[in-house]
């Protein structure tokens, strides 16, 4: 990295760091640059990485307007008379245009169509997505390691740990029970459940501290070593 680049990086780094003391013009400047640069970055990236390859290349628009590219669906369909399934990407293009109709006050309602498509897709995908990995697989892993009675290790600490996990899962699930008042047995189980969940939160928190510190170490290393050459 050039000296110039390091200096810019260091100044911006200090600007963000200064927010810890209090809000100040230096931070505001960095924040404004950050907002503008990152919004611009995404704006450009989505164009080159989504719109061009997925829409324009597939349809053949890239070639049509004179850029170097392979043949797309339009060329195959009208040039050669071959069916090309990529022509369906036209639907996505139309949905995209419908989205932009929001800029026209009278026609804004049409943008609900692509919105409905997006919501429908998300709902359809998620209905099955978590069920396998978050529910069935978890049931499997909670049960699969139990040592059967009479087998070596039945009374081992490991087997006891598996039992503890099972109890924790059962109690935790009871906590999430919505349609029953948390009283009596349900109440007791739910209470144990919330204890387990609290351990989960505390442990996750404590566990993450190290990697968060590493991030700051990385930045301090940049400041002290690469910028100020204070350490080697």
């Amino acid at each position: 990295m050039s000296t110039f680049g390091i200096w810019i990086g260091a100044i911006l780094t200090l600007g963000i760091l200064s927010f810890l003391y209090k809000d100040n013009p230096f931070y505001k400047l960095c924040e404004a640059i950050f907002l503008g640069i990152s919004a611009g970055y995404w704006f450009v990236s989505l164009f080159w990485q989504n719109l061009v390859p997925k829409l324009f290349d597939n349809l053949g628009v890239t070639k049509l307007v004179g850029f170097q590219a392979d043949d797309g669906a339009l060329q195959n369909l009208f040039g050669r008379g071959q069916y090309d399934e990529r022509i369906w990407y036209l639907v996505a293009g139309v949905l995209g245009v419908m989205m932009l109709m929001r800029l026209v006050p009278k026609a804004g309602w049409i943008s609900r169509w692509p919105l409905a498509f997006v919501v429908g897709t998300t709902a359809g995908v998620y209905l099955t997505r978590y069920l396998a990995s978050n529910a069935l697989d978890q049931i499997n892993s909670t049960l699969k390691d139990f040592v059967a009675i009479g087998q070596p290790g039945f009374l081992s600490g490991m087997n006891f740990n598996y039992l503890l996990v099972l109890i924790g899962v059962l109690a935790g699930l009871t906590y999430f029970y919505f349609s029953k008042e948390h009283k009596g047995i349900t109440g007791g189980a739910a209470r144990i459940g919330i204890y387990f969940i609290m351990v989960t939160f505390g442990a996750s928190f404590g566990y993450t501290v190290m990697s968060r510190m590493s991030l700051l170490i990385g930045r301090l290393d940049f400041l002290y070593r690469e910028w100020l050459h204070l350490i080697r």
């Binding site: 400047l29 640059i33 611009g40 359809g124 995908v125 906590y175 404590g206």
Partner: protein
Amino acid sequence: MKREIPLLIAGIVGCVLVIQYFIPHTPFGTLNDVFSDWFSIIQATAIWLGALNLIKVAGDKVYKKQKDWPFSLIIIISFFIMVVVGFFFSGGRRFLEPGTPFSQLYDYVYSPLMAMMFALLAFFVGSASYRAFRARNKEATILLLAAFFVMLGRVPLGDALTGWLPQSLHMSNVASWIMNVPHLAGQRAIMIGIALGTVSTSLRLILGIERSYLGGE
């Protein structure tokens, strides 16, 4: 009609995607990928709306000379620098390759900002634990103890403090027991709950019971 057709679209698309999960045969097997491409395309057109909104809000501030308007001007300028460089001066779709002006802006300006913002977490983790980990009640005490043991078990100090105890009670072993037993159990309960919640929410969206995202007539 302004609501019925969108509801129908969401319902049909949702149903088809649920079914396709179980069918490897074409066209179902690849439908998910195709639809996710379509989503990317819609997303890439929609960002024009977001960008225009950003410019409008910042532009208003500059125009009306509201408080801090010079910073709004900087938002607009840095946005346009990035966009112009990315579209016209960085080799088209090879805009991210090392050495292009766009990737230099990324390396020199964007990336240090991101890294430092991310690293602020090191400080916030500290202030949050100071405030939150107080033994106010049973739940908070459990939270505090779990965090305390795991945090100490992660650094050599923890084992140094507990070196006189039997091996299994060394801090790092206690920490990994917490991670592998009670932490795991709580995590699983949360995950199973999330799975059920997503099924139910998705179903409500597909059925059109939950429809506030479509707005009014």
